[in-house]
Amino acid sequence: MLKASENYVRKLVEEDMRIDERKFDEFREIKIETSVIKKAEGSAKVLLGNTHVLVGVKLSVSEPFPDTPNEGVLIVNAELVPVASPTFEPGPPDENAIELARIVDRGIRESKCIDLEKLCIEEGKKVWNINIDIHVLDHDGNLIDASALGAMIALLNTKIPKYEDDKVIYGEYDGNLPVRDTPIAITVTKISNKLLIDPNLEEENALDARITITTNEKEEICSVQKGGVGYFTTEEIKKAIDLSIQKSKEIRKLIK
């Protein structure tokens, strides 16, 4: 398939246009499905245009970390599986997969949207482990926002399995995961000194820099990550924050 060249994308953006005719602050069509994997305690499928991400949440019981003996453990992992792109290769997560997982992790962790203290079974000995696994199935740009959204939706429909006689009884449930906020990550992309959101793959390949801003229900910022070669000025950072806050409100309406 022919791909729009980097220069073409940049030229269009300079003239305030995008290759798929969207506005700079317009998301592609977002499709969401919940509880798509019956074996997982929580799951979600997110389609952002042609970008397709599947997120599963699995719960297990293990020892807490020594410095937080009364809190559950949160682990986020991302797999850029080879089905999703000709550039993804089998093997352990590369730096892109690791960065993706860590950005999603920090948005959830820093917003304190999961009440981890409620996931303590026996202080210092047994707590719930929440494993969030992001499976990217089709890569057409903006994996960060799609994955963060998928993770949040999956958490919102995660049920806690029954736990009896030191055993987890999968398939039988004992309430929902205590979720008290819905952080939403919005990645603002800079191309030819213009800011836009939800880049598709062609746009992503032409970007100068990107900044992911995760905001909570109170419109506070809970995590920020700049990526890509390139820089942001203070003025651009201000605009990116406003854009993130505005867009996260719209996205939040879709999931709550």
């Binding site: 410095d67 937080t68 003996p69 730096e95 690791i98 960065e99 997982a101 860590r102 920090r106 962790r109 820093e110 917003s111 304190k112 900044i211 909570n216 419109e219 506070e220 910022i221 809970c222 995590s223 920020v224 990550q225 700049k226 990526g227 890509g228 070669v229 390139g230 820089y231 942001f232 000025t233 203070t234 950072i237 201000k238 924050i241 806050i245």
Partner: protein, 246 residues
């Protein structure tokens, strides 16, 4: 609530280590401290010690990674096993992979890659002692090591951390503030310009607080820029005398 958190971390405008809110820990910089590396530097924020070494530009291997148009930058951030209270397992981990990536992206802003086609420039950052803000110290050292290696740069990269402790915005997160503070943000700018090449924040802040942190970060990075330039002047002192005598 984390175990061992002090009740108050700021008392009468002073932080736990006696600093005021917008004050750096003692900074020490030295350029050219390794013999074999083409460029090297050590940058210290108090008890955080970051050593950086640069090898290259040199022919890149494996060959299929070469770019006929430009040089390839490779960065590796690593913590010495003895650098923290609890021993760090040697080798790569998820954190170090991510930091290596963001350091690479920050430094890429100032390197003239087109000058060295088919080559690789290797930047190694070793954290010898960690007491918060290690990636910032590492980035400051790496920029200086690139200068000593003779890699042409558009400008230096200058980096510092800012954050919030007890609801107050502070410069240069250090020691217990990393573990018990509310917000931690690593930043870096191109020289003393308003161009952020590194931004990583954890913790909850309002938009206003965030923008105040950005303003403080700019001041901090400008201060670091001066320290870096002074270290280079110190290193190339004889050159300066010659210029004056002309």
């Amino acid at each position: 609530m984390k175990i061992g958190k002090p009740e108050k971390m700021i008392i009468n405008g002073k932080r736990l280590d006696g600093r005021s809110l917008e004050e750096f820990r003692p900074i020490s910089v030295e350029v050219g401290i390794l013999k074999r590396a083409e460029g090297s530097a050590i940058f210290k924020f108090g008890n955080t010690y970051a050593l950086a070494a640069v090898y290259g530009p040199r022919p890149l291997h494996p060959k299929h990674m070469q770019d006929p148009q430009k040089a390839i930058l490779r960065c590796r951030y690593s913590m010495a096993p003895f650098s923290t209270s609890e021993r760090v397992r040697p080798g790569v981990n998820r954190r170090s992979v991510e930091i290596s990536k963001v350091l690479n992206e920050a430094l890429s802003n100032v390197i003239f890659f087109e000058d060295y086609p088919k080559t690789g420039i290797d930047v190694f950052v070793e954290i010898l002692q960690a007491d918060a803000s290690t990636r910032c110290a590492g980035l400051n050292a790496a920029a200086l090591a690139l200068v000593e290696a003779g890699v042409p740069l558009k400008d230096l990269i200058s980096s510092c951390s800012v954050g919030m402790v007890d609801g107050e915005i502070v410069l240069d997160i250090g020691g217990d503030e990393d573990q018990f503070g509310d917000v931690d943000m690593a930043t870096a700018t191109i020289g003393n310009e308003d161009k952020f090449v590194l931004l990583q924040m954890d913790g909850i802040v309002t938009k206003d607080q965030f923008l105040k942190m950005i303003e403080l970060a700019k001041k901090g990075c400008a201060e670091i820029y001066e320290k870096q330039k002074n270290a280079l002047r110190e290193k190339y002192k004889t050159g300066e005398i010659n210029v004056e005598s002309e």
